[in-house]
Symmetry: C2
Subunit: 601 residues, 2 copies
C-alpha cells in the first residue's frame, strides 16, 4: 500500500524561511493566534490525520466506490467515520469567521492541510472540500438569516455543501441552463430541473447537504445574464434548525468514472424543491464565481497533493527495486543488481516529480499568502493589489498544477514499470484520480482563456505587469549575487519575453479575436513555468544563505532541485513561446467537414 | 458508444501515392499476389471486421474483464466467437510463410490491419497479437519438428502464443531470472518457476497455447549470457498433433490492471512443465530479441490505433457539442451555441490527434516497407541497409508512438470535458488502455537506451547517418520546390542538429557513461519529432502535386495538417534539444538519501 509523510520540513522551509509566514501571520488581524508553534502543532496533527485516517481508506474507497440504495447514496466503508473524526477535530472551522463559529485562523493554513488531504485521499477530501465553495457563496452573498441557518452548520461541518451548476447540455456555457425557479408566495422558490456531475451531491457523511444551485427565474434575460443562485437544502431546517422535512431534491443516479470512485458524482433531480435566493436576482454568475475561485485554487492543490503522493512512493520503489547495473559500473556490488535510483533516466523522472511538488508547493503558499491579504489585509491599496494578483494566479494554480500533476503521477507509474499498471500498487489510481483535475471547475482551456483573455488582455497587460515587475525587481536586486547568477539571468530573460509574448498576442488579437484562443493554453503553460522559475530562484536565495548550518543536505538538495528545474524543465518554455507566436492560421485552416477526410468516405 | 471507420483514404494516400507500395509489392517475391485490388479488398474486409465484430466488444470487455475459474481463464463474452471468425477469415495466416501454411502476403499488410484491430479493441487484439512473436521465434530459431508441430498451428490460428519472460523480481533485467530448466532423458526439459505479466497467458479463445519461456539451464553462466528459450505448450501435442495431456503449466492468478481489462494478464506457474529448447543453449536472449522486435513494432502500432480511435470520436463530439460562441462571433446563429469545433483551442487538440495519427501512420508504413525488405529483399546490400534502418526505427516506433498516443488519447478526453471522465463515453478507456503501451515490451526509457546507446552510439553514429543522409538528400532535392520551402528549411536545420546533438552526447559519454542515460529519452523524442517532420514533408510534396484534381479538400487538409505539425508540434524539439544538451550533472547531484529530505524527518 502507498505510504505518505507530510512534507513538513519542506513546508517549514517555504513558509517560515522563504515566504516569511510568521511575520505575515503576525500582521493579520487575529494572526497572533497563528504563532509558529500553533502552526507547527496544527500541521503535525493534520499530517497524522491524513496518514493514519485517510490514507488507509484510499485504495478501499477506490475499489468499493459509492452505492445508490433506496434513493440515498452510501460512501465507501470508513468514509463516514473518518468524516466524524474530521468534524470532532474541529478541522472544518479552522479558517472560518468567528462570527459563524469559526476559529478565525488564516485561510492559507487550511490550504496547507488541503495538500495533505488530497495527497492521501482525494475522493474523501472532496466531501468537505465542496463545503468551502458553498460557505464562501453564503458568506459573501447570503442574508444574515441564511448565514445563521446554513453557514454555521457548514462551518461546524455537521452539514456539507455542494455546487449544482452543470446540466446535461451545458457545463462551460452556463447561460444555457434550463433549471427553473418559480417564486412561491412566502418569498421562497420552487426549483425544478436536472443537474449532472454534482460532486458530493448526496452521501451519508453528514446529516444534511446544502446545495447551491444555479437556476433561471421566469422573467430572466437570456444567457448568462439571467442566472440566479439559490440555496436548496436536502432536508429543510426544522424549528430548531436541525434537518426536518426531505426537500424535493434527490440523487437520480451515480456516474461511473475513470477515478475518484470514492466520491459520489451525482445526477441530481430537483422537483419543485424549495430554495431561497442568494444575492440579487439574475446576478448568480457573480456569486458563482465566488464559489468557483475558491474551488479552482482547491483543484490546483489537488494536483499538488497527488504529485507529492506519487513522488514519495516512486522514490521508495526506486530505492528498493534492483534492476540492471549503473552504466558507469556497479553501485551496490553486494546485491544482484543496483537499485534503479542509480539510473539517470529514473532520476529524471523522480526529479520531475520532486521539482513539480516543491515548485507547486511554493506557488500554492505564495498564492495563499495573497489570499490572506485579500481576506484580511488592512490597507485598501494592499488588498486591491492582492486581489489583482490573485486573479492572475488562480488560473495558473488551477491549470498548471493539474497539468503537471497529471504528468507527475504518470512519471510515478513509469518509475514502477509494469507494476505501475497494476492496481494493488496504487500508482495508477493516482493517475486516474488526477485525470479529473484537468477537467472540473473549468478545463485547462477555460483557465487559459480566463488568464490570457479576461485577466491579462482585458487589463491591457496591467495585471501581468504587477507580477512581472515583482520578478524584475527580484532579478535586479540579486543581479550581483553569485549564488543566483545561473538562475537570475535566464529568469530575467524569460520575464522580459513574457511581456513581449503578451504584447504580440494582444496586437494580433486586435485583428482577430481567435488569436487569443489559439495562444491561450501555451501561454498559460509558459506562465506557469516562469512563475515556478521565479519561486525556485527565491528558494535558492534562501537556501544558499543556510548552507553552512546543520542541514546542509536539505539546502543543497533544494538548490540542486532548482538547478534541475532550470536545466531540464524550464526549456519547455522554448516550445511554448514558439507556439504562442505561431498564431491561429494553422488551427483555423481546415473546415469542420474536411477534418475527417482521411476516414470519412 | 464510440464509432470507428478505418482511415482507408489516408492509408491509400500513404501507401499508394506517397510510399509507392504497389511498386514495392511488385518487387517482392510473391508480391504479385498483393495487387492494389487485392490490398484494397483486404483492407476493406479488415475494416469491416474491426468495426462490426471487434468494436462492439470493446466496452463490454472492459467492464466485464477476465475470470479465473477452476484454473482456467475465461475471456469476456464474445471474445471467443470473434476469434473464431478471425481464424475462419484466414487473418492469422495472412503474412505467414506458405511453407507453414501461410498466405505469404507482405508483413506490412498485416501491420495495417493491426492498426484497425488496435483502434477498435486493443484487449482482444493482444490474443492473436502475442502469437506473432512466438511464431517469429520458432520460424527463426525452431527445429523443423518444432515448426511442424507448433508453428503451423500458430499460423493457422487454432493455437495462440505467449511470451513468458518477466518474473516478480525482474522485468528489464532478465539476467536475474530464476526459472529453471532441467534436462530430461528424452531430450526435453522440465521447466519450473513463476512468470508474471503474461499477456494472453491463458484464455478460452483457442484450443492450445504455445508458451515461449525464458529459463536457465543447471550449468548456465550468470546473468543474461545464461538464458535459454523453450517452447512449452499448455497441452502437449498428442499422436495426431492435436492438444493432448495438460502440461505442468497453469495460470495462478490474474492481475487487476488500470486498463486492457479484456486481456488476461496472468501469473503463470510452471511446475516441471515439459519444454523443448529453441535455438542454442544459453542463447535465449538473442531468440528473445527476435520476438521482442516484432512485439515492439506491434506496440507502436497500438499507440497509433488508439490515437486514431480517440481522434475520430473527439472529432464527432466537437462537431456535435454546442457550447459558447466563437470569440469572433456566432458561427451557427440558428443554434443556441456554436459547436465547439469552432474554438481554436479545441481545434488545437483535434489537430494534435490528427497529426499524430497521420504522422504515426506514415512512420508505421515507412517502417513496414523496410521490414518487408528485411524479410524478402533480394540483394544482400539492400537487406543489410534495411536491417540497420529497422533497428534504428524500431525503438522510435515503439516509444514515440506510444508516448504521443497517450497524449492524443488524453486530448480526446479533454475535448469531451467532464464527459470524457465518464466511462460510458469510452474516451477514458482509450487512455487507460494506452497507458500500458508506454510500459510493456520495454519502457520508453529502455527504448531510448536502445536507440541512443545500442543503435546510434555503438555504431559511432553510422546507423543514424544512414537515415539523416536520406533526409538530407530529400531536402537537397526539394530545396527549390516552392510548395515545400516552409517545410524543407526547418527540416534541414533539424536534421543537421540531430547529428550535432548525437556527436555532443557521444563526446560526453566517453568521459561518463551516465551521459547516455541522461540524454536518452529526450533524444528519442527529438528523433521522433524529426522523423515525423521528414515524413510530413514528403506527404506535402505528394499532396501538392494533386491539388488540382477532384480531391482538393483531402490534399489541402494534408498540407494544412503538416503545417500545423511544423508550427505547433515540431517546436517541442527546442525543449528536447536543450535537455539533451543539459547533461547528467543536475540528475546525479542529489544522493539517494537526500532525495526525500523534504518529508523524511
Amino acid at each position: 500500500m502507498p505510504s505518505y509523510q507530510a512534507p513538513l520540513r519542506d513546508l517549514r522551509f517555504v513558509m517560515n524561511e522563504m515566504l516569511g509566514y510568521p511575520a505575515h501571520y503576525a500582521r493579520l488581524p487575529g494572526g497572533d493566534e497563528a504563532s509558529p508553534e500553533t502552526v507547527d502543532a496544527i500541521l503535525e496533527e493534520g499530517a497524522r490525520f491524513a496518514r493514519e485516517v485517510l490514507l488507509p481508506l484510499n485504495r478501499s474507497g477506490d475499489e468499493e466506490g459509492c452505492r445508490l440504495e433506496g434513493g440515498e447514496v452510501k460512501a465507501p466503508k470508513g468514509f463516514r467515520e473518518a468524516y466524524q473524526q474530521y468534524v470532532e477535530g474541529g478541522w472544518p472551522s479552522l479558517a472560518a469567521d468567528p462570527a459563524q463559529g469559526g476559529q478565525g485562523l488564516p485561510h492559507s493554513l487550511a490550504m496547507v492541510l488541503s495538500e495533505m488531504i488530497c495527497a492521501t485521499n482525494l475522493a474523501w477530501g472532496m466531501y468537505p472540500g465542496l463545503s468551502h465553495g458553498a460557505a464562501d457563496a453564503l458568506r459573501h452573498h447570503g442574508t444574515e438569516e441564511q448565514k445563521a441557518t446554513y453557514l454555521t452548520k457548514l462551518v461546524e461541518g455537521v452539514w456539507t455543501g455542494s455546487m449544482c451548476l452543470t446540466e446535461p447540455h451545458c457545463g462551460t456555457d452556463l447561460g444555457l441552463i434550463k433549471t427553473r425557479a418559480v417564486p412561491a408566495d412566502d418569498g421562497g422558490y420552487d426549483i425544478s430541473g436536472t443537474k449532472i456531475f454534482i460532486s458530493a451531491g448526496d452521501h451519508d457523511l453528514a446529516e444534511n447537504i446544502v446545495h447551491l444551485v444555479l437556476a433561471k427565474l421566469p422573467d430572466a434575460p437570456e444567457g448568462s445574464k439571467g442566472i440566479s443562485l439559490f440555496v436548496v437544502p436536502k432536508y429543510l431546517p426544522d424549528a430548531d434548525g436541525g434537518p426536518g422535512e426531505h426537500n424535493g431534491v434527490a440523487c437520480g443516479s451515480l456516474e461511473h468514472k475513470m477515478g475518484i470512485h470514492g466520491n459520489a458524482t451525482c445526477v441530481m433531480n430537483f422537483d419543485a424543491a424549495r430554495g431561497y435566493l442568494v444575492g440579487a436576482p439574475n446576478k448568480g454568475l457573480a456569486c458563482m464565481f465566488t464559489m468557483m475561485n475558491a474551488a479552482r485554487l482547491g483543484v490546483g492543490i489537488q494536483g499538488l497533493g497527488l504529485t507529492e503522493a506519487s513522488f514519495q512512493n516512486s522514490l521508495a520503489y526506486a530505492r528498493d527495486r534492483l534492476q540492471m547495473r549503473a552504466l558507469s559500473g556497479p553501485q551496490s556490488p553486494e546485491k544482484p543488481a543496483d537499485p534503479i535510483i542509480v539510473h539517470p533516466d529514473v532520476r529524471r523522472m523522480l526529479l520531475t516529480q520532486k521539482a513539480f511538488a516543491e515548485g507547486g508547493r511554493m506557488l500554492v503558499l505564495y498564492t495563499a499568502q495573497i489570499l490572506d491579504v485579500v481576506e484580511h489585509g488592512e490597507a485598501n491599496a494592499e488588498r486591491e493589489r492582492a486581489e489583482t494578483l490573485l486573479g492572475l494566479l488562480t488560473p495558473i494554480v488551477k491549470a498548471f498544477l493539474t497539468e503537471v500533476g497529471f504528468e507527475a503521477t504518470n512519471e510515478g507509474v513509469q518509475v514502477f514499470g509494469g507494476h505501475g499498471f497494476i492496481r494493488e500498487w496504487g500508482m495508477e489510481q493516482l493517475v486516474r484520480d488526477a485525470r479529473i483535475t484537468r477537467l472540473y471547475e473549468g478545463t485547462t482551456g477555460i483557465q487559459a482563456l480566463d488568464l490570457l483573455g479576461r485577466k491579462v488582455l482585458m487589463s491591457q497587460g496591467e495585471t501581468l505587469k504587477l507580477f512581472t515587475k515583482e520578478i524584475h525587481q527580484f532579478c535586479k536586486a540579486e543581479a550581483d549575487n553569485p549564488a543566483l547568477k545561473v538562475f537570475v539571468e535566464p529568469l530575467a530573460k524569460l520575464n522580459a519575453e513574457w511581456g513581449e509574448l503578451t504584447l504580440g498576442v494582444g496586437m494580433k488579437a486586435m485583428q482577430d479575436r481567435e488569436e487569443v484562443g489559439a495562444a491561450s493554453v501555451d501561454y498559460l503553460m509558459y506562465s506557469g513555468y516562469v512563475t515556478l522559475a521565479y519561486l525556485f530562484a527565491r528558494a535558492v536565495k534562501q537556501a544558499s544563505q543556510s548552507l553552512e548550518g546543520d542541514e546542509t543536505a536539505f539546502y543543497q538538495a533544494k538548490i540542486d532541485t532548482a538547478r534541475f528545474y532550470f536545466q531540464r524543465l524550464l526549456p519547455r518554455t522554448r516550445a511554448h513561446a514558439a507556439m504562442v507566436q505561431a498564431g491561429a492560421g494553422s488551427l483555423m485552416a481546415i473546415s469542420s467537414e474536411d477534418f475527417g477526410c482521411g476516414f470519412e468516405l
